[in-house]
Symmetry: C2
Subunit: 367 residues, 2 copies
């Protein structure tokens, strides 16, 4: 043992299946038909590890374009995929221009100030960028008025090498929402002004809305990481990427009337057996799972009882034979049996938030 | 610029005030009077950085005892405070004994199996440990029956060097809860069997319950990090430790009727100005802040509108003069003005969960 050794099995584990990342990415690409399939790897690849995910997608799945949120994420990613196209969704600010150029990173220009900044930097129009048009989410991107002004400003447009025009859907996860077709119509109208430029509208949910939404490049994130934006539909083709396994710290017998956890929010209505598991909200298992989470042990779905603690949860294991469970028994909190959809449903957390919520304390295992 | 440079200001910042950590620790110590004041630094010191926090508390505040959740946290901490006492709350497992000994770490023995393991390892009773008695939270620790058996087992007790007996309160944050005095009475009875051993019952909330709960050692966590377990009371002596500041990515004008964000959950009922800020749930600002969060800009509390996105929130800044706000204007999401208590109240998140929720994407600044 050296001073740097860590013991086995003293932490919960987060297992990330990179094979499933490849499968899911290819599934997105197939759905998107002729459109290029990029990958959104912001927020540390939705918590799954941007370095491992991007390297895998580039080397083993042919992905050539990546989207991140900020410039720090982009610079980190550039070390991993030296020749890929990298876009920064948050845009560009005056102090950042040299970094974009030095690392060959493309800004997504979100407002007239950013367009001016990039155009003045690069009057010859050789450095590629994306321009973001808002079509209704009212987050980032040119407003309708700014869009009208920009599309007809030939002089300004000549100073830019626009490699991509894009917009973002507000309700792509809800196929029936009329907002989708409204945004599609607005984006289609804008696109008329850029006949030779690649266009992109769809995130994961947008891909499932059908070919009209695919344009030239799609930007899946959630589906690559095993999430399913359109609950239930198409789920059979999305493989789980993330498995969270805890270990049992202690098994307890309770008498009827005994309470469990902080705030005594659960009371045994019969004698029962409980297991204390080494995962809590500091690991990214939020208190929204209080008294409603589910874990999987030895073939059974078992309920989380009481409040989630910072480092632990309690599970009612009375259904199991006491002989078949001990401190070495594996406990699945997320994975093949406790799916993202199921965890989302019981907790009201979005699948996105569950994924990006995974914390640093887990022992991470890449498969 | 080197390849390792990161640009300024492209990330939101998490500023951790180590001076306030010292002040708060000393305040806990003063409240606890003659009891030793330990520090609970599990979960990366509640998200604030266990290395920086423990080094500061050891070197500048005289803290000599630390509690962590698991052995990996303990080994990491051992490098930082080589001579401190370190306890592992999760207990000990067969594969871990060598690590405890090698790194001079003390297990908190939670059940008869762990007691047997440690006693067989160290029959001379020289290696210190803690024994945890459950008094009602039903999480970790000896049950009532196991306790009765253990306290009278003189032979077994002789094989152990019990440096600390402890228990944990289930309702310490609710001073009026009768559970507190029930647990106090149980623990006091157990303590009669260990007249020469240091005893510990109180976490932060327990410290505020008064001297009866202090025994020989108190174990604050939340209060050291600027949280206040008894909402409102004693808050004047707890300094905020954590400040979260975002940057404005874009300012937008909305017409009446326009919607903001995913799922179009917010609609402007008048023309207004909004700011898009570079913090989202992937940074640890959960969707429980949807349409109810508050940020502080230029002396005003302003509302988060619409859903929290993965990397952004939208804020209604119509109250501000458009001339006084631009992309360089600072935005406080947590700190002196948006206190932990306030953030907890609007979101229903516990102060503990808000603190431990802070994610790796922030630029961290220690003061």
């Amino acid at each position: 043992m050296t001073a740097d050794d860590f013991p086995p099995d003293c932490r919960a584990t987060l297992t990330i299946n990179l094979g499933a990342v490849i499968t899911n990415y290819k599934h997105c690409g197939k759905l998107a038909s002729t459109a290029e399939c990029a990958a959104v790897v912001k927020a540390n690849a939705y918590g799954m590890g941007s370095e491992q995910v991007a390297r895998t997608l580039f080397n083993q799945a042919g992905c050539r374009s990546f989207f991140v949120a900020n410039l720090t994420e982009a610079i980190t990613l550039r070390r991993v995929v030296p020749t890929a196209v990298i876009y920064v969704l948050n845009g560009i600010f005056p102090a950042h221009t040299d970094y974009f150029i030095h690392h060959n990173i493309r800004p997504v220009l979100n407002d007239p100030g950013q367009i001016k900044l990039w155009s003045e930097l690069d009057q010859t129009g050789t450095r590629p960028c994306a321009v973001h048009f808002d079509t209704g989410i009212n987050r980032l991107g040119l407003s309708s008025e700014e869009t009208r002004s920009f599309v007809t400003d030939t002089a300004l447009r000549k100073k830019l090498n626009i490699a991509l025009i894009m917009s973002h859907l507000a309700c792509a996860d809800d196929a029936a929402n009329p907002m989708n077709s409204q945004q599609l119509n607005k984006f289609t109208a804008i696109r008329q002004h850029f006949p030779d430029v690649a266009a992109s509208l769809a995130n994961s949910g947008g891909i499932l809305l059908g070919p009209d939404y695919h344009f030239d490049l799609v930007r899946p994130g959630l589906m690559i990481f095993g999430g399913n934006p359109h609950r239930g539909k198409e789920a059979e083709n999305i493989d789980p990427v993330c498995r969270i396994s805890g270990r049992i710290l202690q098994l307890r017998q309770l008498e009827s009337g005994q309470t469990v956890g902080y705030g005594v929010s659960w009371t045994a209505d019969r004698p029962c057996h409980i297991a204390i598991i080494n995962i809590g909200y500091a690991d990214g298992y939020p208190q929204l799972f209080n008294n409603c989470g589910r874990v999987y042990i030895n073939g059974r779905m078992l309920p989380v009882i009481g409040r989630v603690s910072m480092d632990m949860i309690a599970v009612d294991v009375s259904e199991l034979n006491p002989d078949e469970i001990n401190v070495r028994t594996g406990v699945e909190l997320l994975g093949e049996h406790i799916t993202l959809e199921m965890a989302s449903e019981v907790s009201t957390l979005s699948q996105y938030e569950i994924l990006t919520g995974v914390r640093e304390r887990y022992q991470r295992i890449y498969q």
